[in-house]
């Protein structure tokens, strides 16, 4: 497949980034690099700027200052469709049009490859078929998206981004609003996409234990800055969780995977003053 992703390296980094909305600056002089081929997870407390960073990395938010570079070229210098053939984004607020069917929605992921008179090529069809197969939604193809469960719906959105056939997949809180079983289901799927497809994944997640389990590279943010990054086993320490989240905890080995697992301290052994002092103040 000429549109495949194996021939690109998918090297994404940002430097000197100042990010914000209107007059509110979220991050200043941020420098970040996504290891090619990694499953990078960005964590941090609410409003620490992790979603904003993801949006800047995907090109849907323009940095006030600084540059994001993909494979040696600034994002802003890519033609829109050319960028969309290299980098896919699943936004947090994805919402399907009324009554759209699964296959119709997944097909929208082919827009970057289509033109006025190239509306549905054999490659489009193959990409959509295999994206639906990879996410296990083939049987749902003709069902309306708004009749599906939250977990199924998220699989469909992932299929749409997969049909885009990009080397890089950016996912903004893909597990929010899902129950625990569906959260794991979606994360397993992400891990499959990472391992089997050789793709680079970048996801914003809330759950530290999920992040520790699935990430090959962890980026920890606090108040708009990156405070730690590296392998979860090296990064996720009791001290870090205390400093960044203002939560006293114990970090033990996950009995299933051996990755770090954060266990919040019992409320009687937690100092209340402490939690109010450094946690809520941020």
């Amino acid at each position: 497949m000429s549109n495949g992703h194996s021939d690109h390296s998918g090297d994404l980094s940002g430097s000197g980034l100042t990010l914000g909305y209107d007059r509110r600056i979220v991050s200043r002089d941020l420098t970040v690099s996504i290891p090619p081929g990694s499953f990078t997870v960005i964590i941090g407390p609410n409003a620490c700027g992790k979603s904003t960073l993801l949006k800047a990395l995907s090109g849907i938010v323009t940095p006030n200052d600084g540059t994001v570079v993909l494979d040696g070229k600034e994002l802003s210098r890519y033609p829109a469709k050319a960028l969309a053939r290299k980098l896919g984004l699943l936004p947090q607020s994805a919402s399907a049009p009324d009554a759209i069917t699964v296959v119709d929605l997944v097909s929208r992921g082919r827009y970057p490859y289509q033109r006025m008179l190239r509306q549905w090529s054999a490659e489009d069809e193959e990409a959509v078929t295999s994206a639906m197969a990879a996410t296990g939604v083939t049987d749902l193809a003709d069902r309306p998206v708004d009749e599906l469960s939250g977990g199924q719906r998220q699989r469909v959105w992932l299929a749409m981004v997969l049909a885009q056939q990009t080397q890089l997949l950016l996912l903004d809180e893909p597990t929010t609003f899902l129950d625990i079983a569906h959260q794991i289901d979606v994360l397993d799927l992400c891990a499959d996409l990472h391992e089997q497809g050789g793709r680079t994944l970048v996801a914003v997640l809330h759950d530290l234990n999920h992040a520790a389990r699935y990430a090959t590279h962890l980026i920890v943010m606090s108040q708009g800055a990156i405070v730690a990054e590296g392998k979860p086993a090296e990064v996720l320490t009791e001290q870090l969780v205390t400093d960044v989240f203002g939560l006293q905890c114990q970090v033990i080995d996950d009995p299933q995977t051996g990755t770090p697992m954060v266990v919040p301290a019992h409320r009687r052994s937690r100092s209340r003053e402490f939690a109010l002092g450094s946690g809520l103040a941020s």
């Binding site: 849907i60 994805a94 009324d98 549905w120 959509v128």
Partner: protein, 348 residues
Amino acid sequence: MTLTHPPAPGAVWRRGNLSVLLHRRSVLVGLALFGLVVAVGLVTLSVGNFAISIPDTVRTLLGNGSVDTDYVIFERRLPRLLTALAAGAAFGASGALFQSLTRNPLGSPDIIGFTAGASTGALSAFLLIGTTLQYVATGAIIGGLVSAAVVYGLAYRRGTNSYRLVLIGVAVQLLLLSTNTFLLMRADVLDAQSASWWLVGSLNGRNYSYAAIAGTAVVLLLPAALLLHRRCLMLELGDASARALGVPVERSRLAVVAVGVGLAAAATASVGPIAFVALAAPQLARRLTTATGPGVLPAALMGALLLSVSDLIAQHGLGEDQAPVGVVSSCLGGGYLIWMLSRARQGG
């Protein structure tokens, strides 16, 4: 290669690098609507004080009519019919674009303050400058365009979003509606009555120049709307997804608004602000085609059908007294829409 998963039930035509996708139901519904429009057109041309048989009507249209039928059809009935068809199509297409843009079944040129602004412009021209239709039409276009520009400008803050567009549109619309009421109350009673007639929408006395205004818009802007179809499909996924899939969101939205307002402006200039067609036609068409996306062409055909049937009823169905076509189209389209919505399993 067999079609395992076309994105919607339909046919794919491929040759070399080219491929075209046809939505089966949309094509069938479009053909049926076109047939109905032709039938209603023929009936409209044949009935009246001077009745002409359908074969004679066809003969006259093909250039083999008598002096009498030539006069009645070409001078009296055809310009009015063409105005209705073109304005109906323009309103229908405009509504389809706005409903897609706002992702709201109640979307119409109203939401950007267009109709209320057009009415304010028309009333101002009517009451302050002159009562000829040319003044009123020009006033309507200027008023509509200015209010649309104001709403879009106010909603713009490092880009627009559809939600803010709707809210500001509603606020501006309320302001303009009270201005309209004020203008009507200040006006002379007779003037106010004729102005009200225009405000409801009417096809009385429409000659070829009115058909030309709406017709030109349809010829120029309908293809533009069709070119925007695929971008509309993408914008319906939300700004973030659309942008991530390579759509220039801001430019596309401005283009959709401009084409939608242009269609509504021309239609309003020729028949008055019958915005209800813009609201109902896309909904009715969409329920028949069951397609996603704006469905501009079926909506345009439905708009043409709705307005031409309404005018047929307005002219002949209500005894001696003619009703303004706007009243009939509202009753007809509204009734049909209520019936369809109440039959549907789920609303919206």
